[in-house]
Amino acid sequence: MNVVMRICKKIIPVCLSLAMLASCSDEPRRDTGRIYMPDMTYSRAYETYAVTPEERDALLKKGIHYSNIPVAGTMKRGAIFPFDIMQDAAGDTTNYVASKSVKNPLSGLDDATMTEANRLYLVNCGICHGTKLDGNGPLYRGGDGPFPAKPATLVGDVKYESMPEGQMYYSVTYGKNKMGSYASQLDTRQRWMVIAYIKAKQAAAHPAPASDSTGKKN
């Protein structure tokens, strides 16, 4: 009998605490809870993005080379040759002007590439420049959105319709005015693809852009 009593004394508090835990479900769950085997759950290998610069330095001291940045001056096989124009210093426009002469290495995109370029445009550019390339994406919404500057009207503004592809590439790579650099989100080929897509859309909107007199003055 005493044994039963002793067991009961042990079980009752456990049950009560479990019941209390179960009844707290309205609060947001801020803890991860317990796990069986931490070394099987949390990776002991260095995963993508998991290494901080400090950790990388500590690894280097141990002779382990972990770098998530390609060696300077190297490029992937089959990649498009990198853009060799550097970013201008603040207030300087020499390289921005020089970029006009750079030609798009991609021309005449096939349908599949154009579909992919369309996807890239919608993911990365459409948010400001609009799905119709009218410079009125959901972040601007005709001046009512959160973005305070008007994004460029890519189709319907002579300034951008006549802008050479190299200069567009410069802006996408290094950023221009309040637009940031997209070099971390789009690789070299993808940036040229998006520019080819924009040029194709501009050409489609104006069958003869040279003789277009309805466009806005710059």
Partner: protein
């Protein structure tokens, strides 16, 4: 013809200027007070380089302050047009005046559906007490009747030593305790509904929800690789270099506390070392240590791009209605049973004879034959090996 200042402003000025915010160029509201000479202001707007060359101190200082970025010239604007633009700029509402908050609006409507289990518990307790009382009454009555009829009675056993009661109690506790212990054991290592507080209150309800930013804008890795990835700070700053305050609906944490969203954007600036006043990075940036929510054990392989691109699974299938989450919580169980269940029931998008569907699956010739002969009506992920151990554990 009345000049439309807003339209003119948006077409000619807005790519670099905002009436109340410094963007590429200075905030324009109050410009007529800062430059009282109307003729000079018009001359500046039409051809700023001529004004700079004339040596005007105010404009030359401004030019240096804004990093010598030259302003475009607008020789085509008429006086009436410039006045319309200036009128629009000067009458632009002050910040904070427009989006007045409704003080009556409480925190996100809490679901007031009361849980009945407490009521049932109390009822059960009351019934149990009544049962105990009745049992006592019953035994007392029996004792009385036994006394009357002269049956010798032994000392009554107190209820806490009554074997029947104790066995019953033990059994009930065993069942209840067992239930909770089993539940807790299954829950070990599972983090469903995990909703940690992040170093910066980043609302998915605002970013992909209200502002319709594609998931892949920030989590581009999900398209190309195993990891969806957390964006680096430069991706945040693509927009937040310009967007330095929040004017939308009030935001609340999961525990109902209101969030100072503009303050959260300032936190981002402190991490990036960005000075919103000068628009420059003045201090070295440091990393934001986001708290990882969705964690798969190290011995499980999961690939985002495989699921999104070949499988055409939507983000929301596993991550829930992410566009309604101010604070992200783990929607799915992420248990093995959950994975397998989905692999058993999900039909893969097999290409049909017309060529519609995912051509990735065209290598499964046998299934194509079975489909065309009617032996199978659809192919699930399990059919193409989605429940093999080595698919995810190797």
């Amino acid at each position: 013809m009345a000049q439309d200042g807003k339209a003119l402003f948006q077409s000619d000025c807005a790519s670099c200027h905002n009436p109340i915010k410094q963007v590429t160029g200075p905030a324009l509201k109050g410009v007529t007070a800062r430059v009282p000479d109307q003729k000079l202001l018009h001359a500046w707007i039409r051809n700023n380089s001529a004004v700079l060359a004339s040596g005007n101190k105010y404009f030359n200082d401004l030019y240096i302050q804004f990093g010598k970025t030259p302003m475009n010239t607008f020789p085509q604007l008429t006086d009436a047009e410039i006045d319309a633009i200036l009128k629009y700029v000067e009458t632009y509402p002050e910040p904070g005046g427009g989006g007045a908050k409704n003080p009556n609006e409480g925190p996100a409507t809490q679901t007031l559906e009361s849980d009945n289990s407490l009521l049932y518990g109390i009822l059960t307790l009351i019934l149990a007490v009544i049962m105990l009382v009745l049992l006592q009454v019953n035994s007392n009555l029996r004792k009385l009747s036994d006394d009357k009829s002269g049956v010798p009675s032994h000392d009554p056993i107190p209820f806490y030593r009554n074997k029947v009661y104790l066995t019953f109690l033990g059994l009930v506790l065993f069942v209840i305790g067992g239930y909770y212990i089993v539940q807790a054991a299954i829950g070990l290592g599972r983090q469903q509904n995990y909703q940690p507080e992040q170093p910066i209150f980043f609302s998915h309800k605002v970013h992909p929800g209200t502002n319709q930013i594609s998931c892949l804008y920030c989590h581009g890795g999900a398209w190309d690789s195993k990891m969806a990835g957390v964006p680096s700070l430069n991706v945040c700053m693509n927009c937040h270099a310009a967007i330095n305050d929040y004017k939308g609906e009030p935001l609340y944490r999961a525990n109902g506390k209101e969030v100072d969203a503009t303050g959260e954007i300032q936190k981002l600036y402190s991490y990036t070392g960005y000075d919103p006043k000068s628009g420059k990075y003045t201090e070295p940036g440091k990393q934001i240590e986001w708290v990882k929510i969705h964690n798969l054990p190290d011995h499980v392989y999961f690939n985002h791009s495989q699921h999104i691109r070949a499988g055409k699974v939507q983000c929301q299938t596993c991550h829930g209605s992410i566009t309604e989450m101010n604070e992200v919580k783990q929607f799915s169980e992420l248990s093995m049973g959950w994975c397998i269940n989905c692999h058993r029931t999900t039909k893969v998008n097999f290409p049909d004879s017309a060529g519609n569907g995912n051509k990735f699956y065209s290598i499964y010739e046998k299934f194509h034959q079975n489909l065309s002969t009617g032996k199978m009506d659809s192919v699930t992920v399990e059919n193409i090996g989605g429940t093999e151990c080595q698919k995810c554990h190797y």
